[in-house]
């Protein structure tokens, strides 16, 4: 297995929220009390454990990004964030342009702590605004109002050099017109980055049960496609084109952390349920941490790490992951980059006949530069992938 670059990223999962949103299937929990010092110690221990592994290249590699995700990371004690950033700097070289993102929910309480996070080293905030409409926020079960969200955004803009926020669209009975209005308002507010997700009904969530039993009235395939196409047009016009299925940025301001992961880069994941990928001696390794927060904490305290047994990915799995994430990107998969990761050319790795059918059909573009999806191909990516390698 070849090592592709000298960079590595770190993902920190914070598994707690103030309330559980009815659409959310992330590893997030509502806890009565949180022992912040204990969590700080445990996260540091989990980080130290990664540092002693050869594959993470402590002392040699550059750390290029840190991402505090959740759950609701804006509920972490800022001292914990500061300690983790500092400790990471002890283990790895710090890239001069390191991107350190923290996901924040836009309630007034959390907005008040943004300065502390900035002081701790966070240089990019991602706000979970979700909607600019109070009725929609209520439907989504959010703890904040549109006014609060706008205020939090304003505060964040004053503090952080880079800002992103998330919206969820494709809600029940949402019209093209309604979304056009909300999106243009969002584009006026956006600085350099926006994540626009169509509402997904995930198994095991209250929305899933409601949709199954009484129906949520979600847009059908055609309306969903119309909404998506309009989103592509409007964001491009506003100078924030899509660089991934649901992510938009002013060119040069793409989220480096996610981009690296989607391009097949190495990353460590600490905290309950965090995934990681490392380039091992023989194969790519998938690491995973215990997902139940209490169990995770207990294991870290007892054994010094929060991991479950890790798995080596087969060549085929590695290829599938690369395609799965790489084809979500507008720029697709770069030919030379693919080669350096897999030791194979794209042509050798893929089935000619299938590739040919998808390129002539207008779903994929395959040239010297690499392999990428067309807008149409991206819109049907699940099927395209199935036809390509399924």
């Amino acid at each position: 297995m070849r090592s592709h670059s000298s960079g590595i990223s770190l993902y920190v999962h914070w598994p707690f929220c103030l309330a559980k949103c009815p659409y959310c299937d992330f590893n997030s929990h509502v806890a009565d009390t949180i022992d912040h010092p204990a969590w700080r110690r445990a996260l540091l221990t989990a980080l130290d454990h990664f540092a002693i592994r050869e594959e993470t290249g402590a002392g040699e590699k550059y750390l290029t990004s840190i991402f505090f995700g959740g759950g609701t990371p804006s509920l972490i004690d800022p001292a914990t964030v500061a300690a983790l950033i500092e400790r990471a700097g002890d283990h790895w070289k710090i890239d001069a342009n390191i991107e350190i993102t923290l996901e924040a929910n836009p309630t007034s309480v959390e907005a008040g702590r943004l300065t502390d996070f900035f002081a701790a080293g966070v240089n990019r905030a991602s706000l979970g605004i979700q909607s600019l409409d109070d009725a929609a926020l209520k439907f989504l079960g959010r703890e904040h109002s549109a006014a609060e969200a706008l205020k939090a955004l304003e505060t964040a803009k004053r503090i952080f050099p880079r800002i992103s926020f998330d919206l969820i669209y494709g809600r029940p009975d949402e019209t093209i017109k309604g979304w056009r209005g909300e999106l243009s308002q969002a584009l006026d507010l956006a600085t350099d980055h926006l994540s626009l997700y169509q509402l997904t009904i995930e198994k095991g969530t209250p929305f899933y049960t409601r949709d199954r039993d009484i129906g949520l009235g979600l847009p059908g395939e055609n309306s969903a496609a119309d909404l998506y196409e309009m989103t592509l047009e409007m964001t491009a016009l506003a100078g924030l084109p899509a660089y991934e299925i649901s992510n938009h940025a002013r060119p040069g301001f793409e989220a480096r952390h996610n981009l690296d992961i989607w391009r097949g880069g190495d990353y460590m994941g600490i905290g309950p349920g965090a995934h990681g990928r490392l380039t091992g001696q023989k194969a790519r390794l998938a690491t995973l941490q215990i997902s139940n927060p209490a169990n995770w904490l207990a294991q870290v305290e007892e054994r010094g790490h929060g991991g479950v047994p890790e798995t080596s990915l087969s060549k085929e799995e590695t290829l599938h992951e690369l395609l799965l994430t790489g084809l979500r990107l507008t720029d697709g998969i770069e030919a030379t980059h693919f080669c350096s990761l897999t030791g194979l050319t794209l042509k050798a790795a893929l089935d000619d006949r299938r590739l040919e059918r998808l390129t002539t059909g207008g779903f994929l573009i395959f040239d010297k530069a690499g392999l990428r999806t067309t807008d149409q191909g991206r819109l049907c990516l699940n099927t395209v992938l199935g036809e390509l390698v399924g």
């Binding site: 995700g69 997700y197 395939e221 649901s246 599938h320 992951e321 998808l358 059909g361 049907c380």
Partner: protein
Amino acid sequence: MTDLSHIRNFAIIAHIDHGKSTLADRLIQICGGLSTREMQEQVLDSMDIERERGITIKAQTVRLTYKAKDGETYILNLMDTPGHVDFAYEVSRSLAACEGSLLVVDASQGVEAQTLANVYQAIENNHEIVPVLNKVDLPAAEPERVRAQIEEVIGIDASEAIEISAKTGLGVADVLEALVKHLPPPEGDATLSLKALLVDSWYDPYLGVVILLRLREGVIKKGMKIRMMATGGTYNVDRVGVFTPKNVEVSSLGPGEIGFITAGIKHVADCQVGDTLTEDRNPTAEALSGFKPSVPVVFCGLFPIDAGEYDDLKESLSRLRLNDSSFEFEAETSAALGFGFRCGFLGLLHLEIVQERLEREFNLDLITTAPSVVYRVHLTDGTMLELHNPADLPDPVKIDHIEEPWIKATILVPDEYLGAILQLCTDRRGEQIDLTYAGNRAMAVYLLPLNEVVFDFYDRLKSISKGYASFDYDMDDYREGNLVKVSVLVNAEPVDALSFISHADRSESRGRVICERLKELIPRQLFKIPIQAAIGGRVIARETISAMRKDVTAKCYGGDITRKKKLLEKQKKGKKKMRQFGKVEIPQSAFIQALKTSED
């Protein structure tokens, strides 16, 4: 061996669900054949599928010992028969083994189509018939009306028909007395050389191949060397017994008796039902007349969904045939479905049951093509071809004309639904040959093309009449018809497994239906897909599956990657061969979906 005058052999016959098996339970119980602990409802329906569906598929024989009111002890051999028309062959063989019939008529429903069909067969076999009126415990029972109906419609004396409830046991003791009194004892000479009718044979996991016999002359004993007169095989009898219904060995069986033997026979195929068994060193001069062989009338293709299961399917079909000699199979290949078998059945229920047993007992996933009948294709060179598979129809220029099988159908239906039923028969090209009334029920006799019947006729009949119409049929003649082959094209490529033969007048509507169904069933693909039905080069129906517009996951973080990758791998593993339809490849599974429902 029992004295002839103390033996009574009878078949229990009735329309489906009129209570034959339940009555058999009561008779077994009264005669002490099984203890209360061993007893269960319809104890003779021993196959899972019989118990689940509550119907009898295979005839069963039981020997009962009955102490009559005259103080004498009698041996009663009862044969419980299936009621459904598809299993009429079981009934006819049972009738040939008995002197009398116990006719069960549900007193709440009255005479139905299979009541008639089975009684007529019993009369043809010179049977003495003992009628009983069952289910008189039901509030809806009208024994007097049904008694009159039996006399009027069937034309037998029903004045002494006993009113019973097989469920509660009411009147059942009198049935035993009536059987002893009214049925003739069998005839036969124990001193003559052995002559026995091979009524049935099957494979039993403990006993091996078991043969059910009705003795006409002579005696059969353990150790005897026997010969099958038609096949010529000789075997040494290693077990002689009877079913009580448990199998019990006896020292010998004599004339008039019904029982089983095993004789180290390896293949059920060596035992032809209707064959005559005799003693090898002292054979009887003349064989019994035997049975008309059963002829499959409905054919379909059975294909494993997973091509790797072909050998398993073959093995399973052979095993299943051991216990059901009435279905046939031969290898078949389909461009759409790969390797499989073309199978022949006695009817649609028979088809369904064989398919279900294969799936359940042998754990196979199957895809069944649309049922078809046997056409006689007369070619211009004067030869005739029996066509079991529409896909094999020769080039139309080589065809002089095609004949299709017709049936004579008897339908009994309450008056209020008669109009709709007659319309259904007319729509299906039926020709009325008789229409009579018995009380508030009408009996319509029609000639119908079998092809129109295998195509959902029975379901329509039942739904139009809210379940009240009953239906029975016999094969009639072959007749020339204006028949055409309708091909189904998916993305301009013909799909052999979907093609069918239809009367020209009905081809368009059937073509339209299948196109509409396929449109519903084949999921959207990346490309739009035209679906057409065509006769030769002429398109008679068309639909289009529009191209997929959106299928992408909104977010892909952390665990999503692992989850999506697993999905992709599963898809890859589970993906059956892709089928190329013009520019588009459709997974075989999409299409299997279409075939699965197209016969519902």
